[in-house]
């Protein structure tokens, strides 16, 4: 029997995807995996004949399109099964960074009959071929999402079992309570000692409180993993895109003098004072009858609500009143601690006007770069504050699936409290407590269900 036949994913089609994160980078990597991976790449590769290449070898050459035109100069790594990430024949093509080039190279491969991979499909195959277990697969998902050193540490802490111990502790107490409830049902005539109503009440309250602490950390856990979400909002043509470009140091968004150019939102990430920040450039906000533009404004409002930091930008020439009207249009509260007012185009107003505005917010000029130091310092400050709001607990939940389990645990316990208040008898309380136990059990792998599996693999980004 050959290795080919014993491998779990033998006979499945060959898949490909861009494995590096989207955005500007020096190199983009395209990963191809499957029985025919090497042959398919060879069909578009001009250089050494990689069909005969040994495993773990590197080859220089060019990738062409269907008509033989050169798309990019690349380095190709060949991995033969089972010694690859997926356990299958694999090729990794390192091409020049930039969305256009890497997408063209990928398209060329897809034309040869390779299928575009689904999110997590490479890891799924690796998992199936025994290259990693489920816990490792989840850790991979978290590492993919990890954008900073702290995120890395959080995953490591989780792998070390801090969350498991925390959840396990609560689950054990609930198991004990469920056991006592069951005793009162199955040993009616024995004089067993039971939990009294007060103890149950305390247990439910206390468990909910503790789970909630862990759940609250999910916000900051997400920040650590995904980065800080910074939304830029304001009326059209106030200079949001210019500001973004200045911050990023490139001309990223389309900037024109026509109001309302940026209808879809643009997102761009960067490290700022060691903090990973994702800047979201939202559609310009103004009162309008344009249906499409109004939809854009509605989307913008949603994004502002979910953001960790909101930069409201007004035109310095229009004064402090403009900032208030922007805030109203964005439906933001005056006390909202996430919000920072910015007055852009300071280069177009008199010095005394700028001084006056400085009492209401930061005065900057995206065009001249004036005030940008103060802005970056202020952003770092806001980021720290956003993080601290919910980071007191010792456990940190960074994983959406875990957060979902915790939430369902709380929901079940609230149902248990309600049942207790309604004077439902023990078998109903036991039912709710068991739901809570099962929900928490999903975190530490004490139960398994299709949903658990699906949600794990759905979290992978394309290319992993």
């Amino acid at each position: 029997m050959t290795q080919q036949q014993t491998r779990a994913t033998a006979g499945q089609d060959t898949i490909a995807a861009i494995a590096t994160p989207p955005g500007t980078s020096g190199i983009a990597v395209i990963r191809v995996s499957g029985d025919d991976a090497i042959d398919r790449v060879a069909a578009r590769f001009r250089g050494a004949d990689i069909r005969e290449a040994a495993t773990h070898t590197l080859h220089h050459g060019r990738i062409c399109d269907t008509r033989g035109r050169i798309l990019d100069e690349v380095l190709v790594s060949v991995f033969r099964e089972p010694r690859s990430y997926t356990g299958e024949n694999s090729v990794e093509i390192s091409c020049h960074g930039g969305a256009v080039v890497s997408r063209r190279v990928l398209s060329s491969l897809l034309e040869t009959g390779v299928r575009h991979a689904e999110p997590g499909e490479f890891t799924r195959r690796a998992f199936l071929n025994g290259k990693m277990d489920l816990a490792q697969a989840e850790a991979v998902a978290d590492l993919i999402h990890a954008q900073s050193e702290e995120a890395h540490q959080a995953s490591v802490r989780q792998l070390e079992g801090a969350l498991s111990r925390f959840v396990g502790g609560i689950r054990d107490e609930l198991l004990h309570a469920a056991g006592m409830l069951e005793l009162s049902l199955d040993f009616v005539e024995d004089d067993v000692e039971l939990l009294d109503d007060g103890q149950l009440n305390t247990l439910f309250d206390e468990s909910i409180r503790r789970i909630q602490t862990a759940l609250d950390s999910f916000g900051s856990g997400r920040i650590i993993r995904d980065g800080m979400r910074v939304a830029l909002a304001g009326p059209p043509n106030v200079g949001k895109s210019s500001l973004l470009n200045t911050l990023l140091g490139t001309r990223r968004a389309i900037v024109t003098e026509v109001p309302g150019t940026t209808r879809d939102y643009i997102e761009e990430g960067m490290l700022l004072n060691g903090e990973y920040m994702r800047f979201i450039d939202t559609a310009g906000m103004r009162s309008t009858d344009d249906r499409i533009e109004n939809e854009g404004i509605a989307i913008s409002r949603d994004m502002l609500r979910d953001a960790d930091i909101v930069c409201l930008i007004a035109d310095a020439r229009e004064g402090a009143r403009a900032a208030v009207s922007v805030r109203d249009l964005a439906l933001l509260e005056e006390e909202d601690a996430r919000v920072q007012l910015l007055f852009n185009k300071a280069d177009l107003v008199a010095a005394d006007t700028a001084t006056e505005l400085a009492e209401h917010g930061l005065v900057i000029s995206a065009r001249t770069g004036d005030g940008m130091d103060r802005l970056t310092a202020r952003l770092a400050e806001l980021a720290r504050a956003a993080r601290q709001t919910s980071e007191q607990g010792s456990v940190l939940v960074t994983n959406a699936r875990h957060a979902d389990c915790l939430q369902r645990g709380i929901d079940a316990l609230r149902d248990a409290q309600r049942a207790r208040r309604d004077r439902m008898t023990e078998e109903f309380l036991a039912y709710e407590v068991r739901r809570a136990i099962d929900a928490l059990g999903e975190i530490i792998g004490a139960v398994s269900s299709e949903d658990v599996l699906n949600s794990i693999f759905a979290r992978f980004c394309i290319g992993k």
Binding site: V188, D191, A446, S448
Partner: protein
């Protein structure tokens, strides 16, 4: 020339009776081989049937067409519904029975079945050819040929009884053990183990001072087990409750150095849930007393069973200890308690039909599979009997799911968890407890019983008619409203807050203290013919009330079952090659190869198979 039967059943206990009766009723010729026909259905331990979860099993056996419920009804001296103060899901019927009458009723039942032959004898040898059962030889040299064999040997396989350091060979007080069957199966590489169980002393009723005890009467009116029995018209006999104290425990401790358990003579595992009194004294050392239930063993007998005092200490210690208990100062002990150790076959060696995986046509049921209790045994006997017939006919096996019946939970647990201690049923073992109630066992299972030919047409049709009425009444209750003018005077009487506008009947019935029956009798409803008829039928009303009051929970459990069903229907091919899946854990792969689960759902319940093993299987099978 050997006698020839379709099916032979070894053992006339609770499992053997159900197996033999079901197989014969389904049209097979059946030989019931027993060492003593007069011991048919003997209650070797407590003189009671049912109790928490066990009562559910009896109702399910009855709804499938088994006979335990009818025999219990015919010989009961007391009926009680346990857990009345809780919700309907955990109500459990129990009867106290006349021990001798139970046996007689069982024998009458067995003798009344055409095609069922009782053969006196002890099976010593099993005949197996090409991994298929062919027949048996008894100790008297008689050969009996059969196509399927159901072994229900109870505690008799190499049974050994202990009282103190005295050891007697035997399966039950005054009865011989059975030898030979275990030895035959060992040749086929069956795994075998030893389990232990015990029974308390029997005392003389005349020697008790009942004034010092608390009386525990039966229910009035009593409710029978069988869906086919009329309301019992009997004079009920009460039980009595008393309690041990520190003096009792002190005397028991004197005998610990002569305990077959504590001295290590018995090494096997006993039921944690039904511990001996000496076990309780050691494990709950801080408790100064334990309840004892004095249960008369019949209407006209002097024998009383001391429930809660199971012991294998020396007889004189048992007697001295009992004499410290209120009401028992001058007690006369008719027979001491004893422990019995016996062979069992760890049940992972079975299919869900209770057929052994190694030998075709060989079924095991009852205590030989590691269970304790009459009801657990009877349930297995019934399932083994039914499946033996279906396999002879070459038809699809009859397997109840965990979501359908306690019997499904029982067998699924046995096969997948392969018990190491005597297995007893509890309501907490049933995930879908709120649906698997004793009151709806007929609605859940009679269609199966009827299809199998074990439930008569008229009984099934009556159930079917009730089903129709229940469903019609349920939709009326959730769609019809009544005006405040009708509702408020009624609500005032409950008392329950008044309504200000028309309100759905269902919402009113769901209120605390409101009974469906009373709502349906309100003005303006009684004229509806469906309602008028339903109000006359207590069983319809009971179902409508339960389904209305607990609608939220019932709906949720139905959704839980839907999820469960998907996992159960994700089938694993019979010859699936687990060795191919490299990523399975070593233990998980070994267990999966041993048990060969039918579905992903079953795989997930096998002890030793981790959730990540199950995930791997699901991904692998593309489920």
């Amino acid at each position: 020339m050997a006698d020839r039967y379709d099916i032979a059943v070894v053992g006339g206990g609770h499992a053997g009776i159900e197996a033999a009766v079901a197989a014969a009723r389904m049209g097979c010729s059946v030989a019931l081989i027993t060492m003593d026909p007069d011991a048919t259905g003997r209650m070797s331990c407590n003189p009671a049937i049912g109790g928490t979860a066990k009562g559910h099993l009896v109702r399910e056996i009855d709804a499938l067409g088994g006979v335990m419920g009818m025999i219990a009804d015919a010989s009961a001296i007391q009926f009680k519904m346990l857990n009345r103060s809780k919700g309907p899901a955990v109500w459990s019927p129990r009867s106290q029975n006349d021990r001798e009458e139970y046996s007689r009723a069982a024998l009458r039942m067995v003798r009344s079945i055409p095609g069922l032959h009782i053969i006196r004898g002890m099976v010593e040898l099993l005949h197996v050819e090409n991994d298929r059962v062919r027949g048996v030889t008894t100790s008297g040299g008689e050969e009996i040929a059969c196509q399927a064999l159901i072994v229900c040997a109870g505690t008799f396989l190499n049974g050994t009884m202990y009282t103190g350091l005295d050891m007697t060979i035997g399966g039950r007080f005054g009865e011989q053990p059975a030898t030979g069957i275990t030895e035959t199966l060992l040749r086929y590489e069956f795994e075998t183990g030893r389990l232990k169980t015990g029974t308390p002393p029997r005392v003389s009723m005349r020697s008790l001072d009942l004034d010092e005890t608390t009386i525990a009467p039966g229910d009035d009116p009593p409710q029978p087990f069988s869906f086919q029995s009329p309301v019992p018209d009997i004079r009920q006999v009460p039980c009595y409750i008393t309690r041990t104290d520190e003096r009792t425990h002190e005397i028991m401790r004197e005998g610990f150095d002569q305990s077959p358990m504590f001295t290590g003579r018995i090494k096997s595992i006993g039921p944690r849930y039904c511990p001996s009194i000496e076990d309780k004294i050691v494990r709950f050392a801080d408790k100064t007393g334990h309840h004892l239930f004095l249960e008369p063993e019949g209407r006209d007998t002097d024998v009383v069973y001391v429930n809660g005092f199971s012991s294998s200490l020396p007889a004189d210690i048992q007697l001295r200890a009992l004499r410290t208990v209120p009401g028992m100062r001058d007690v006369e002990m008719l027979r001491p308690g004893y422990a019995v150790e016996y062979d069992f076959f760890p049940p992972h060696q079975l299919r869900l039909t209770l057929e052994t995986k190694a030998i075709h046509g060989l079924f095991l049921a009852g205590q030989v599979n590691g269970t304790s209790g009459y009801e657990e045994a009877a349930a297995q006997g019934l399932i083994a009997g039914i499946n033996a017939v279906l396999s002879l006919r070459g038809e699809e096996p009859f397997i109840l799911r965990r979501s359908e019946a306690y019997i499904g939970v029982l067998i699924d647990d046995l096969v997948n968890k392969s018990t190491l201690e005597p297995y007893r049923m509890f309501t907490s073992r049933a995930e879908y407890r709120l649906l698997l109630r004793q009151d709806n066992a007929d609605r859940r299972l009679m269609p199966h019983g009827h299809r199998l030919g074990l439930i008569p047409d008229d009984v099934f049709l009556a159930m079917h008619e009730r089903e129709r009425q229940i469903s019609s009444l349920r939709s009326i209750v959730e769609s019809r409203t009544l005006a405040p003018g009708t509702l408020n005077p009624f609500l005032r009487g409950i008392p329950s807050p008044p309504v200000s506008q028309n309100e759905f009947l269902g919402k009113i019935i769901r209120r605390e203290g409101v009974r469906a029956e009373d709502v349906l009798r309100l003005d303006g409803l009684a004229s509806d013919p469906d309602i008028a008829r339903a109000v006359r039928d207590d069983r319809v009303l009971e179902q409508v009330e339960i389904e209305t009051k607990y609608m939220g929970y019932i709906d949720r459990q139905h959704r839980d079952i839907e999820k469960f069903r998907r996992a159960e229907e994700a089938l694993i091919p019979e010859n699936f090659d687990y060795a191919r899946v490299h990523s399975l854990s070593t233990e998980g792969r070994e267990k999966l190869m041993r048990i060969r689960p039918r579905s992903i759902g079953q795989a997930s319940r096998i002890s030793g198979v981790s959730s990540s093993d199950v995930s791997i299987l699901m991904v692998f099978l593309g489920k």
